[in-house]
């Protein structure tokens, strides 16, 4: 019922359609870059064209290596989308399991899980990630995912735990228990579906935040390395040259911002749609 109401509300929102459209384009770029450009990553580069601005045939100009910037920016989508989505899925799974156990059983299990959450919550994100990533210099996209999951599961776990605690006191849970439902059935059939909506919303916002975080680490030079192609890396190179060659900064920043913004706006409208109090 709630899902149907939410959908009816969402259908009428311009922001919803706009951000969905942007995200579909970004996903298509990540999955099938061939649809947008015929040039592969780091291909057909001509150093003589290094840092040249937009011209006919190269709408975004050329990067430091003289590669066509449009195709480089298109290929940059994959790193951001893969890291953002997979980090959030893993973190969501962790938080569903830990948050449900802590909230449902309470007592010792809750105390242990909550303190572990506090410990990881206290590690500063950029510094913590930098320390780990520098320790393993030859990391690829999956190592980055692992590090970001390790530092990013706490907020959702706390929220999940709070939600489960709130829902498990409700009458329908007591009714199900009296009908003889076991712990597992109560948790997964009755409590979880009613507790998860706000966590899903935060997960959507989280995708945006993770993408921005990944780009920040690339920008600091501790994330992905050449020959990987990502928006963060492009911005890292742009920082040195952008006073004289603004196109190096503007295009990846534009794509990065549009993607992050779309995830945030999508999360916002879905939250509004799910929360009837604000209507």
């Amino acid at each position: 019922m709630l899902a149907r109401d939410a959908w009816l509300e969402l259908r009428g929102r311009v922001v919803f359609w706009f951000s969905t459209a942007v995200l579909l384009v970004a996903l298509a770029m990540a999955a099938f870059p061939g649809l947008f450009t015929r040039i592969g990553p780091n291909e057909n580069c001509d150093l003589r064209l290094s840092k040249h601005g937009p011209a006919s045939g190269a709408p975004f100009g050329y990067d430091l290596q003289g590669c066509d910037y449009w195709s480089q920016v298109v290929h940059g989508a994959r790193a951001s989308i893969v890291v953002g989505v997979s980090v959030t899925i893993f973190a969501l799974l962790i938080s569903i399991v830990l948050g449900t156990i802590a909230g449902y059983y309470g007592g010792v299990a809750d105390a242990i899980i909550s303190r572990i959450t506090d410990v990881f919550f206290g590690i500063p994100f950029v510094l913590g990630a930098t320390v780990v990533l520098v320790a393993f210099p030859d990391h690829g996209i999956w190592a980055m995912t692992l590090v970001l999951v390790l530092l990013g599961w706490t907020t959702m776990t706390r929220l999940m735990r709070g939600q489960v605690i709130a829902v498990k006191e409700m009458d329908f849970v007591a009714a199900a228990r009296m009908l003889g439902s076991g712990d597992r059935r109560l948790m997964f059939r009755h409590i979880l579906p009613n507790a998860i909506a706000p966590v899903i919303v935060v997960a959507m916002l989280n995708v945006g935040n993770v993408i921005a975080g990944e780009a920040t680490l690339d920008y600091l030079g501790v994330g992905l390395q050449y020959p990987d192609v990502s928006w963060g890396l492009q911005l890292n190179i742009a920082q040195t040259f952008f006073a004289g060659h603004p196109h190096l900064l503007v295009f990846p920043a534009l794509f990065l911002t549009a993607t992050v913004l779309s995830f945030l706006m999508l999360g916002d409208v879905v939250r509004d749609a799910l929360d009837p109090r604000l209507r």
Partner: protein, 308 residues
């Protein structure tokens, strides 16, 4: 009672977090003693003496215990070149603290101001602008905001110095502070708005209005005070975030703070500096959290009673 329990929780968390960081940093591959020697071959006996001198042969837990003992005496250890870490960081703390404080005040004043402006007229022009603007600010990565502000406001318009700390506080810290605080400002504004909108609909506000109190009094004294409780929480926690987030901002504006130092040290594998800074940051972070929780209990009696 509440305070004591909260404190008892914070202490193990502090030790566990710092131990985790200590382990992470000193698990870095590469032998620091060998790195110290450079390309020259070093006899095994010398290496052994050096390792013994820096207690590198002890179990990790013992090393950690010895280190924490030092920290509580104000001794953060020394770098492998023999310089005390606390000396290295002395001047840098001041820079980062000034930067974080500038950003924090900016968040507090402008953030709450915008939030109230938006929340009082939900759906109005100001509200729409604030919502759109803050979403945008949250979405743009800090370093892009930083470079754009530096070029446009600093270089092209000449409103602010572009880099360094020559003009001292506040001149040199205003622009970096605004950049660092922009993300938190957006959160504070949105949080204030949502909270105020909810409170303005509460029964006690209707009662206050029905009693004939002026709008100014109803909003300022009754609604706003209650609305600011979650905002205070966020602002407290965010101070620690600002200190840690200064890495990027200090890099862009070339401010010689701890963020810049710790970043250099990570790349040079100077473990003692990294652990020192991060340990102190965690301490600040946990203390800020603790202070907020205690303050929260004072501001909202329901919380104190519910948890005690």
């Amino acid at each position: 009672m509440y305070a004591a329990r909260r404190l008892a929780q914070a202490i193990p968390v502090f030790f566990a977090t710092t131990f985790l960081i200590y382990t992470m940093v000193f698990a870095l591959p590469g032998d620091p003693i060998l790195a110290l020697a450079g390309d020259k071959p070093v006899p095994e006996q010398v290496l052994e003496v050096m390792r013994e001198h820096y207690h590198l042969n002890d179990p990790l837990l013992v090393q950690y215990g010895r280190y924490m003992l030092g920290v509580f005496h104000g001794d953060l250890g020394e770098t492998f070149t023999g310089q005390p870490v606390s000396e290295l960081l002395q001047d840098r703390w001041a820079v980062t603290a000034q930067l974080a404080l500038t950003a924090w005040v900016f968040e507090l004043v402008v953030g709450i101001g915008l939030g109230v402006l938006a929340g009082l007229r939900r759906g109005g022009i100001a509200d729409t602008l604030v919502l759109a603007g803050t979403t945008f600010v949250i979405a743009v990565p800090v370093f892009v905001v930083g470079y754009t502000a530096q070029i446009v406001l600093g270089l092209n318009l000449g409103l602010f110095p572009t880099a360094g700390t020559e003009e001292g506080w506040p001149g040199s810290y205003l622009l970096p502070g605004m950049v660092l605080g922009s993300f938190g400002l957006a959160y504070v504004a949105r949080l204030t708005r949502t909270s105020l909108v909810e409170n303005l609909r509460a029964d006690y506000v209707r009662t206050a209005t029905a009693k004939g109190l002026s709008r100014r009094r109803v909003v300022g004294l009754h609604a706003l005070r209650n609305s600011l409780i979650p905002v205070v929480t966020y602002l407290g926690v965010d101070f620690g975030n600002l200190m840690a987030g200064a890495v990027v901002t200090e890099g862009i504006f070339n401010l010689p703070g701890i963020g810049q130092q710790v970043f250099q040290s990570i790349q040079l594998q100077e473990g003692p500096v990294v652990v020192g800074v991060v340990t102190l940051l965690v301490m600040i972070f946990i203390l800020a959290n603790l202070a907020v929780d205690l303050l929260y209990g004072v501001l909202d009696p329901r919380i104190r009673r519910a948890r005690a």
